[in-house]
């Protein structure tokens, strides 16, 4: 069974419809790449998954549990909403690290706050916090940032900041990690280090959705690809097949425009 099941999502802002009947599913351990021209609704789709936007239609289910269904209007309580959110992690285009915390503190903050809700927090405070710290350090280690843990975001390069952001998103062990153009805000010479980290995550079978303009990377790393245009999924399938031999005319046009620069 698919870990993520997205059905018939529609989203409009006022009178402009941004997502039209978007449906797809994702298997556990797979990486899904989403490509498409500017304004096609890729960011909006990720934001819907992370409950930053509420779809007008459709449903979202993770591991068989329906997290959202527009046809069942219910008042979301903050507590339930927060729990649902934790199924997803989000890495933003422009990092959004917390500037007043060090790299390690950025990674640990949410886990520390969440731990306070544990019933055994008072008794085992020391052990719990030590555990969070160990995990935070291990994640930064994995990102190749072992010597940058105590640096503040402004003391880090864009590529380093984005890697901290990835560690921060991984800290709560989400089922599905979403990336919104993780390298678009970076200087070309810094994209490599971030893509390498994402590639590593794919090798470890992290379930991921990656919105990207890096076609070669998508072709190479993703198990599945979606091409979006004007709010609809035009084509989806195996990345090699879609990129090398697109079936749809719109996909062809997009890809030629892309390879021509």
């Amino acid at each position: 069974m698919a870990i993520l099941e997205v059905k018939n999502i529609e989203k409009h802002f006022g009178s402009t419809q941004v997502l039209k009947d978007v449906s797809f599913s994702l298997e556990e351990g797979n990486a899904l790449a989403i490509i498409g021209s500017s304004g096609s609704g890729k960011t909006t789709l990720l934001r819907c998954l992370n409950f930053l936007e509420t779809p007008n239609q459709g449903s979202i289910a993770v591991k068989g549990e329906t997290l959202f269904d527009a046809s069942v209007p219910l008042k979301q309580h903050e507590k339930d909403l927060r729990k649902k959110r934790l199924h997803f992690g989000m890495v933003f285009q422009s990092f959004h690290l917390f500037p007043q915390y060090t790299a390690l503190e950025n990674v640990m903050l949410a886990a520390q706050l969440l731990a306070k809700e544990r019933t055994d927090y008072k008794q085992n405070k020391k052990e719990i916090l030590a555990e969070i710290e160990t995990r935070g350090k291990a994640l930064l280690d994995q990102m190749g940032l072992q010597d940058r843990m105590d640096h503040y975001p402004h003391q880090l390069s864009g590529g380093q900041q984005q890697r901290v952001a990835i560690a921060r998103a991984l800290a709560l062990s989400p089922d599905i990690l979403c990336f919104d153009e993780p390298t678009s805000a970076l200087d070309p010479e810094l994209t490599g280090e971030v893509l390498k980290v994402i590639r590593g995550l794919a090798e470890q079978k992290t379930t991921m959705i990656i919105v990207t303009h890096e076609m070669a990377f998508a072709r190479d790393v993703a198990d599945q690809i979606i091409f979006m245009d004007d709010g609809v999924i035009v084509e989806q399938g195996d990345p090699r097949q879609v990129i090398d031999n697109p079936r749809e005319e719109r996909t062809k046009q997009f890809l030629t425009r892309y390879t021509e620069g």
Binding site: L52, E78, R82, K83, H96, A110, H154
Partner: protein, 242 residues
């Protein structure tokens, strides 16, 4: 020879006499200025205590989703910032007496200080509200969203993520306004509140002395200097992040 000695003695005594008088005058002026400083300080502190929270409330009003409230607040802020504080002070002090037929401020010094604090609080709250609003809206939405995506509660996001970033944005413009407030307290003289400038000025009027005016300036400089050191310290403490 004897005459010379006598003269010298007289001169010496005269010198000591004069020196005594100057020192006596200096003490009189100092005491008077200290009294004025107390009033200035009272106006300053009470205005801050009221205008800071009131400014935050006005800022929330200006950002409200309820349009009529937003417009109302916009007009209030526009009027208050667009007219002289001295004019507002005169209206608040004399207005009620003329409209209601009886003065709501008691005629003594306390009444004058209270009226001053009321006028200043309204005025400064409007200026502060603009600063607060800039600080709140200046924190990128992405900060809040990053917190939400990490499952934080609204209050955790406010206290752990956005608050300190707002404070950092607010401190520099706020310190400017607060230092301006120190000097603006001198406007209270217009309704005869015996604050620092009034105290210094009265020696010019009664004794024709100008040096107490400069001495008064020293008091303001010291007051502002201490505040500047304090704000510099706070800014330096917040310097570790950007």
């Amino acid at each position: 020879m004897e005459l010379l000695y006598l003269n010298r003695k007289a001169l010496g005594e005269g010198f000591y006499y004069l020196k005594g008088m100057v020192i006596g005058m200096f003490w009189t002026v100092t005491q008077s200025l200290l009294g004025g400083l107390l009033t200035t300080f009272r106006i300053f502190i009470f205005t801050l205590l009221i205008a800071l929270p009131l400014g935050l409330i006005i800022a929330f009003g200006a950002m409200s989703r309820f349009k009529p409230l937003r417009y109302l607040v916009d007009v209030l802020v526009w009027v208050i910032r667009g007219t002289p504080l001295m004019l507002q002070l005169i209206i608040i002090f004399y207005g009620p007496g003329l409209w209601l037929g009886h003065n709501i401020w008691s005629g003594n010094e306390t009444g004058r200080i209270t009226a001053t604090v009321v006028a200043f609080s309204i005025n400064y709250a409007c200026y502060f509200s603009v600063i607060f609003r800039g600080g709140i809206e200046g924190v990128p939405v992405g900060q809040r969203e990053a917190g939400e995506v990490l499952g934080m509660t609204k209050s955790q996001i406010f206290f752990k993520v956005t608050l300190l970033q707002m404070v950092k944005r607010v401190v520099p413009p706020m310190s400017n306004e607060i230092i301006t407030l120190v000097k603006d307290t001198s406007l209270a003289r217009i309704i005869a509140a015996y604050e620092l400038t009034f105290a210094g000025y009265s020696f010019m009027k009664s004794d024709g002395l100008t040096w107490p005016l400069f001495y008064t300036g020293v008091f303001y400089l010291a007051f502002v200097g201490i505040l500047t050191l304090l704000f510099n310290y706070i800014e330096r403490r917040l310097d570790y992040f950007r």
